[in-house]
Symmetry: C2
Amino acid sequence: MRRDVFQAIADPTRRAIIGLIAIQAMTPNALAEYFDTTRQAVSKHLQILTECEIVRQEQTGREIYYHFNPGKMKEVADFVEPFRQLWEKRFDQLDHVLRKIKTTKK
Amino acid sequence: MRRDVFQAIADPTRRAIIGLIAIQAMTPNALAEYFDTTRQAVSKHLQILTECEIVRQEQTGREIYYHFNPGKMKEVADFVEPFRQLWEKRFDQLDHVLRKIKTTKK
DNA sequence: CTATTGCGCAACCAAAAAGTTGCGCATATA
DNA sequence: TATATGCGCAACTTTTTGGTTGCGCAATAG
């Protein structure tokens, strides 16, 4: 089972969950109200997000609050970053970018 | 069929293809040599990347070169950007970030 | 103690994705 | 022309997802 950040943000519902949780920690029930699905479905997404460590649980009595952990998002940023110059200034300083990609990968 | 950038970069093989093609345009056969799969499998990934407009075809005789189109990568960068401050300086200027997320979404 | 609420977990289902195989078309080579 | 190459496309199989339903457990409320 592939469980990385890229898989986590591939689903639009999960991206929305991340957006909501980044604003404030929430319980599965509270989150489910924002979507047109059941609590269990949201719960499954939260499980995936937890496995990817994008989200962190915090039990308070019988409620479980899910907090956002921004750390993993950096991985995505790091992947996109080398391409930035390609879309900002195209065909300019190209070899510098490529050297950057080569050393980053592998 | 969901066809967006996030789906495109969810697969590690596709991320590798993007990395290779960003360095220089390649044909499916040339690409396939880098991976432990068939040309057709690579071809399918290229098809998906083409639909997402991350990659662009260019026919030269009987060969088809796939070029990288960095434009779509910006969408990913735009998604991650609002969270940047959360992982750089945590709990600092938080409400500014949140306002940013709120206006970006929906 | 009993009832209710908030959960996770396991089993099951339908849909989508990833990969394979076989084909046909167009270009290049002899 | 005959043959080989590079490719896309379609059909099919297997694996992975996203979702639902039903259960049981722990914590609160009465």
